[in-house]
């Protein structure tokens, strides 16, 4: 018993030391935003507190913007919690969030509820962060530069293509030396906007081979699940024979092999900030006025466009925010939609909004009242 107590104490001490040192190293890190904010563009400074929550996919982008904005405007408090898109929209409707981040635009049944929170206005969907989704694989050493047609991807993830040297993969990659090994398709075991987006892409581009529709939960049988983006990246990194989909930043951080994907124009597109932006530039704006709800065309014919992208939105009231909050929200989102705010995201694994869309978002933010 006594020993056990000493053990607990020793552990607490150990944990405390580790915790402290972890915090310490955090503070020492050079802040990447600091240098960028030196060339201060004019920013609207508000005061007070703004609470927002929602999509965890844009959490890092939001954190970067909040940090940069607070350096320009001292004494403001902005909280963004990555609670998930659904929770963010619920909080917006309940009035506990001043704006919400979401991986998808408001659904028709959510729109009137959200509008009710905006006295005299309506709830707007403003695309703010573009998160490209990478197709990553680990087919053993020496097998790289693979490229896939949407139909091939659909067959792999549906479990219809089970070997790396299957005829369908060979047809896409005539020059690659493909091993005769089983393929293991990895998916997210938790529910995620990334899964929703990736399955939406498959269902739009390979209808014949992908019959599972799109949802945040993985519907296809078989394969193996991994928890969170980090788990997916780690699984693909560690296991030969795997293929998966993951946010670009995780793929880059784990230096995984990124596959090229055939777009609607029949080109093999590699994933870059530019090629992902092209898909967004080619997206149709479905919303009216300042509502910039996008309809992404996964079969885009844009030259060089990488089609698997996720647009995440800020959901905000066009009218009806309290005056003090309004100034702060406008200031923050204005900075986020500025050229400076967008380019600061590239190193975090997001793609900047293409100029055509960005200017529209900027105008929409200016019109908030």
């Amino acid at each position: 018993m006594k020993l056990q107590r000493y053990g607990t104490i020793a552990c607490l001490a150990l944990a405390a030391t580790l915790g402290l040192s972890a915090c310490g190293s955090d503070n020492n890190e050079p802040t990447p935003g600091a240098s960028a904010s030196g060339s201060a563009a004019a920013v609207d400074c508000g005061t007070g507190t703004v609470n927002a929550q929602g999509s965890s996919a844009q959490k890092n982008a939001m954190a970067e913007w909040i940090k940069a904005y607070q350096q320009k405007c001292q004494g403001t408090t902005i909280n963004y919690e990555g609670t998930g898109s659904g929770a963010g929209i619920q909080a917006f409707i309940a009035g506990t969030a001043d704006f919400a981040g979401s991986d998808s635009a408001l659904k028709p049944e959510e729109q009137p509820q959200a509008d009710a929170k905006c006295a005299g206005g309506k709830a707007l969907n403003l695309p703010m962060v573009i998160g490209p989704v990478a197709v990553v694989y680990n087919a053993g050493s020496g097998v790289d530069n693979l490229q896939f047609k949407p139909a091939t991807l659909a067959m792999i993830f549906a479990g219809k293509v089970t070997k790396w040297d299957d005829a369908a993969i060979k047809a896409d990659n005539p020059d690659a030396k493909l091993p005769s090994a089983p393929i293991q398709a990895v998916h997210r075991s938790d529910e995620s906007g990334t899964t929703d987006n990736f399955t939406k892409y498959l269902s739009k581009t390979a209808e014949a081979d992908w019959t599972f529709g799109n949802a945040k939960a993985w519907k296809a049988p078989g394969g193996v699940g991994a928890a969170k983006s980090d788990g997916v990246a780690s699984k693909v990194k560690s296991t030969v024979g795997t293929i998966s989909y993951v946010e670009w930043s995780y793929a880059e951080n784990s230096s995984l092999n990124l596959a090229k994907v055939q777009n609607g124009a029949g080109e093999w597109a590699a994933l870059t900030a530019e090629s992902a932006g092209k898909t967004i530039a080619g997206a149709k704006i479905e919303g009216q006025g300042d509502d910039l709800k996008l309809s992404i065309d996964y079969n885009t014919k844009e030259a060089g466009a990488y089609p698997i992208v996720l647009a995440t939105y800020e959901i905000v009231c066009s009218k009806g925010l309290a005056a003090d909050k309004l100034k702060l929200v406008k200031g923050l989102l204005g900075y986020a939609a500025s050229a400076e705010g967008q380019t600061s995201l590239t190193e975090l694994g997001y793609a900047p909004l293409p100029e055509t869309v960005r200017t529209k978002v900027e105008t929409a933010v200016k019109n908030l009242s």
Binding site: L3, C11, S189, D190, E191, A215, K235
Partner: protein
């Protein structure tokens, strides 16, 4: 345990009757003695001179403490009932909305319209992984405990025991990450080897790539329950009366025979209790399994193939993005886990109860 006879012996010898409450027969438990309060005051013996003093105490600290313990005891019941009521109230609407068979459907899509989800695969995975973990952990834990209590030099035994306790204090997410990022390598190799030579046994069938399997999950679980079982069984083995051990040795038993005839039978209820406690942890383990298992919804005895899922891991994975029905469904699954744990505990109690008399005679 050893103290009880001493106390009663003291009471027997002390004929001074300063405190009346100590005068009650040594065999009667405190609770029995407490009940007939009024019967106590007359004393029943001729002397009874100092009646005022003990009565005063009885209505002071004695009474208050009785109330406190009663409240603590009742609290357990209140908490259990409150948890059960909460789980049932939240689960019923989701279960009503479920359009698939809750017991047999293999999948978990409560956020869909219409919602479909089933507990079968999850409950199966929970029981299978916990059972496998115990199968691996118990022999090792017993070995460690016996070594520490009866073979190792005292100082080494103490420091090793300290290390084991330290293992119990490691948070489960650390075990999970370690399993996911490191242990997966050796397990993948082992799975390949097992599959190559033993694939004729169905549980080792299938084809790779291996890795995030029930085997990996239950190995991590085994390491997590090891310290609990080891600490408790070691404590139990140390309690073996020296007289029993010496008697065995005096009769010509070797060390191993002494352990088998004196230590193990004496410690059996303790071992069972320790194993059940370990099983409780294994059944309820959440994050380590969420990180290591392949999270597929299928009932399969194959321990090598990627896949497997448990109730607790599924809750951890799916709670964040769940809507109302989704949460209700997860709570319903929690209710099933609650029931499984309850059954396990009842079985453990029953075993210990049945063995009790034997141990008491051994003591």
């Amino acid at each position: 345990m050893g103290e009880t006879p001493h106390r009663s012996a003291d009471a027997g010898t002390g004929g001074t009757r300063v405190t009346q409450s100590h005068e009650w027969p040594a065999g009667a438990s405190a609770r029995v003695a407490e009940a007939p309060v009024s019967a106590r005051t007359p004393g029943g013996n001729g002397l009874g001179g100092g009646g005022a003093l003990p009565r005063n105490r009885k209505f002071g600290a004695e009474r208050a403490f009785h109330g406190l313990t009663l409240a603590a005891g009742a609290m357990v019941l209140v908490i259990i009932v409150a948890i059960a009521a909460f789980l049932i109230a939240k689960a019923i609407p989701a279960l009503r909305a479920n359009t698939a068979n809750f017991w047999t459907f293999e999948g978990w899509f409560p956020n869909d319209n219409p919602p479909t989800f089933g507990i079968g695969a999850l409950a199966f995975g929970t029981v299978l992984s916990a059972a496998l973990a115990l199968l691996m952990a118990v022999p090792v834990a017993m070995g460690i405990a016996l070594y520490l209590s009866h073979y190792a030099p005292r100082r080494l035994g103490n420091s090793l025991g300290f290390l084991i306790d330290l293992l119990a204090a490691v948070p489960s997410v650390v075990f999970g990450l370690w399993g996911r990022d490191y242990l997966i390598g050796p397990v993948t190799d082992l799975s390949g080897w097992l599959n190559k030579y033993f694939s004729w046994i169905p549980i080792f069938g299938g084809e790779g790539p291996y890795g995030n399997s029930i085997l990996l999950g239950s190995l991590v679980l085994a390491i997590m329950v090891l310290p609990i079982i080891t600490s408790l069984t070691r404590e139990v083995f140390l309690q073996t009366p020296t007289a029993n051990e010496e008697a065995a040795i005096a009769l010509g038993a070797t060390r191993w025979e002494m352990l088998r005839t004196a230590v193990l039978p004496y410690g059996r209820p303790g071992i069972i209790a320790a194993v059940m406690l370990g099983l409780g942890r294994a059944l309820g383990e959440t994050i380590a399994l969420a990180l290591t298992l392949g999270s597929t919804y299928a009932i399969s005895f194959n321990v090598l193939e990627s896949g497997g899922n448990t109730i607790a891991a599924n809750i951890a994975n799916r709670f964040a993005e769940a809507n109302d029905t989704g949460r209700g469904a997860l709570i319903a699954s929690g209710l099933v886990l609650f029931a499984i744990t309850l059954v396990v505990n009842i079985i453990a109690r029953a075993i210990i109860y049945r063995r009790r008399e034997f141990t008491e005679s051994a003591a």
